[in-house]
């Protein structure tokens, strides 16, 4: 991949200076730094977490892509791999972790459950996809995705980072202050998404009384 190199391809740098001098743009420097050292949060939810561990082990070795430094604390992590079924009970903890991560931050939904509920979608304690709450950058299909699929997904994330521009990325947007903050959902009689309070109140008021569902 040409983006792994820092220098822009249209500048001709003498061979003996290639490791010393680079001519590039600020965007490219920024993206190159980000993509070459993505630190994931050590965060496993369910079955997919086991394949995530397998991907770090000797056979697949995520370290080849600069992703081996799993951080147990969100304050040091660049990306959150939502690896498994998101339940209503767990959701506030996930949102809290996400809000604690410093920007720039990326979200990868690993597996069918995190992407859209998967086989457990009909369950009463299951959130049908983490994208109802977090801005997901890459979805990885599979139940669970194989380590190869996971690594392919993470390379996709790198490709996405390559397209970032300092002017446009959401975390440097001055108008939208706290644009990335996700309000904490509340565990009530069911999961309360506080952004939808009015909608929930209206729907509950018009709900048919005889309906037990």
């Amino acid at each position: 991949m040409e983006n792994e190199k820092l220098s822009l391809p249209n500048y001709n740098i003498p061979e003996e200076l290639e490791n010393v001098v680079a001519i590039t743009t600020l965007d490219r420097l920024y993206n190159w730094g980000r993509r070459s050292s993505l630190w994931p949060l050590t965060f496993g939810l369910a079955c997919c977490a086991i394949e995530m561990i397998a991907a770090q082990m000797a056979r697949y070795d995520m370290a080849r892509f600069g992703m081996e430094v799993m951080r147990p604390t969100p304050r040091q992590a660049d990306m959150i791999l939502v690896s498994g079924t998101v339940t209503k009970k767990m959701l506030p903890a996930i949102i809290r972790l996400y809000n604690q991560m410093p920007e720039p931050k990326y979200v990868v939904a690993m597996g069918a459950c995190a992407s859209g509920g998967g086989p457990f979608k009909e369950g009463y304690n299951v959130v049908a996809g983490i994208d109802k709450f977090l801005p997901v950058d890459v979805y990885i299909p599979g139940c669970p995705p194989t380590p190869q699929a996971l690594i392919a997904g993470l390379i996709k994330l790198q490709e996405r980072i390559d397209k970032d521009s300092l002017k446009k990325v959401r975390w440097y947007n001055k108008e939208k202050k706290d644009g990335n903050y996700v309000p904490m959902p509340i565990l009530g009689p069911d999961l309360i998404d506080v952004r939808r309070n009015a909608e929930i109140r209206d729907a509950a008021a018009t709900k048919a009384t005889q309906e037990s569902a």
Binding site: M57, K121, Y124, G188, D193, A213
Partner: protein
């Protein structure tokens, strides 16, 4: 050979006339105990008849008869068949049943689960709170008249999907356009959030005042998890500490409660098999094994001979890789960051390759079917398994032992750190390697043989000190015994069909109940199924070894140091998919 059906060896009705009646419903066994006499009968079951291990407790909602039932399965640690007794109560709230936690401590979490999912209160229970759902959740989900937000029909296959297959979005039908269900006229802004005061009140605290009464000291409350690298998934443990010593401890679970049982009761019998894969996601083969043997017991069918061998081979390979991963992860928790896990996963990958070759998936195998297995194992794959079992795995197990067992730090950390005594382990319904490391040779492959385990020559691994070192070493013993079984099975495997039944997607199971159990790598994995003769189970309950073993964590950890707690938790070898279901 068919699995022996649980036979009644004890006649409770004759011993307690007027208090106990035999369960005469067709297809049912066991005894129905009067609610008032439950404590007396249960004490006699343990002390007089010797059923010291109360394996499973669960509720059933007989809504048509307007009754709620609680079913107990008691067994003897010396082996043999079990004793089933039940209590029936009117289905009018509040439903109350005396708690048996004082007789069998292992019931603590299971009774809480029945309260959470069925709304049956157990009087005299030490800590009657919800366990899988949060406090404040509306309703008791496993009741037959409770419907989830994405409810479509009572049972699958849904008419909208089959045979025409006109799909709709579940979100469109729900008034909240999501997987949500609020009571009428609910106002989210006025809702008062539960501050979990009950949880913290249930913890043992340690408050002291100095002589003058001026300076007050209190214990520190620490919440480990649900996001914590050492809790093996999304378990949360609230502990109170005096310095570094654990004073009180309560696990909080349900963060991976995926409604396995509710979905299971909506699904057909065949549709449940892939869901069982996701219980203990390390050992999908063992989970399949437990489920299909239970249903086969109800259908009373023979399993194809070759399939029996394939089943045993896959289940034992699964046990080997589970224990290898356990060793790697335990050492991770002890602070050897990663290196032993790298060794363990190297071997696991080879076993997982075999699973992928036979079933098509590395982890979620969905491989067993009623009457056999789904695909045959080719000679090529058999040769691969033989290479692994005869050459590679014994050498690699020796290598791991050589690298680790004499390590001074490891021995210092593990040796003498007490886990459980035999009496406590039995009383807390602990099963699997943890029970055997306490000196109780209770292995279902011997104690209550299922499938063809009675044909193989192997020893039940047992160790007697009950400390962490024994709990760790017994995993190596079990790997060796599994390899012994594998060697014999690989030599004896016959040619022939792999399924005694014709492929059938809508099997009908005769009406009745059954409790099937197998020795999963983590302990006794039980399935309690009630069929009404239709295509779906009326009640489908999983007795998960991780869930029941965790009941003992409070007993194990109080008084130890917080850093040992992490290792002791790893020792129980819990997996969240099975714990929360």
């Amino acid at each position: 050979m068919a699995t022996p059906i649980l036979t009644q060896t004890v006649d409770l009705a004759a011993r307690f006339p007027g208090m106990v009646t035999a369960d005469a419903r067709p297809g049912y066994t066991g005894f129905i105990v009067n609610k008032e006499n439950l404590l007396e009968v249960a004490t006699a079951v343990r002390d007089e008849f010797g059923f010291d291990l109360l394996s499973s407790l669960t509720g059933v909602d007989y809504i048509a008869e307007n009754k709620m039932e609680v079913v107990y399965h008691a067994f003897k640690t010396t082996g043999g068949s079990g004793l089933i007794f039940k209590v029936q109560v009117e289905r009018i709230d509040p439903i109350e049943i005396p708690s048996l936690t004082h007789i069998w401590h292992g019931l603590e979490f299971q009774e809480r689960e029945v309260w959470d999912l069925y709304g049956i209160k157990f009087t005299d229970h030490p800590d009657m709170r919800r366990i899988l759902m949060w406090e404040g959740f509306e309703g008791h989900p496993l009741r037959k008249d409770w419907k989830e937000a994405f409810y479509e029909e009572e049972v699958k296959p849904y008419k909208s999907r089959w045979p025409e297959g006109k799909h709709t979005f579940a979100e469109d039908k729900n008034p909240f356009h999501d997987n949500l269900n609020f009571p009428k006229d609910f106002d989210p802004e006025k809702y008062v959030v539960d501050k979990e005061e009950d949880l913290y009140a249930s913890l043992e605290r340690h408050t002291m005042k100095d002589e003058a009464g001026k300076m007050k000291t209190d214990s520190v409350v620490v919440n480990l998890g649900p996001h914590h690298p050492s809790t093996h998934g999304v378990l949360r443990v609230a502990v109170t500490l005096n310095g570094e010593t654990v004073m009180g401890l309560k696990p909080v679970m349900g963060y991976l409660h995926r409604n396995h049982e509710k979905i299971g009761e909506r699904s057909t019998f065949t549709q449940i098999i892939p869901y069982t894969d996701r219980l203990d996601y390390f050992n999908s083969m063992s989970n399949n094994f437990g489920y299909v043997t239970t249903v086969e017991k109800m259908m009373n069918i023979q399993v194809a001979e070759r399939a029996e061998y394939i089943r045993v081979i896959m289940a034992e390979l699964s046990r080997v890789q589970n224990h290898l991963v356990f060793i790697g992860m335990l050492l991770n928790d002890l602070g050897t960051m990663f290196t032993p896990a790298l060794y363990a996963f190297e071997e696991r990958e080879l076993i997982v390759d075999i699973f992928e070759a036979v079933s098509g998936s590395r982890m979620m195998c969905n491989y067993y079917r009623f009457g056999g297995v789904v695909r045959d194992v080719s000679d090529e794959i058999l040769q691969k398994i033989k290479d692994l079992v005869f050459d590679r795995l014994p050498a690699k197990t020796d290598e791991m032992e050589r690298l680790l067992n004499e390590n001074e730090v490891l021995v210092g950390r593990l040796k003498g750190t007490h886990v459980l005594s035999a009496e406590d382990a039995i009383n807390f319904s602990v099963t699997g390697p943890v029970l055997r490391a306490s000196g109780v040779p209770y292995d279902l492959r011997r104690a209550d043989p299922y499938s063809i385990y009675d044909r193989f020559d192997f020893d039940v691994a047992v160790r007697h000190n009950g400390d962490m070192m024994d709990n760790y070493l017994i995993r190596f013993d079990e790997i060796r015994q599994s390899l012994r079984i594998l060697e014999q099975a690989l030599k004896q495997i016959p040619q022939g069909p792999i399924n005694s039944q014709k492929p059938n997607y809508q099997i009908k199971v005769p009406a009745g109940e059954a409790y099937g159990r197998i020795e999963s790598p983590k302990g006794e994995l039980g399935f309690y199924i009630i069929s009404t003769g239709k295509g779906n189970p009326y009640r489908y309950h999983v007795r998960a070894p991780s869930f029941v073993n965790l009941t003992a964590i409070e007993k194990i950890c109080i008084g130890t140091k917080i850093q040992d707690f992490v290792a002791l938790l790893a020792m129980l070898d819990i997996v969240m998919g099975e714990l929360d279901r």
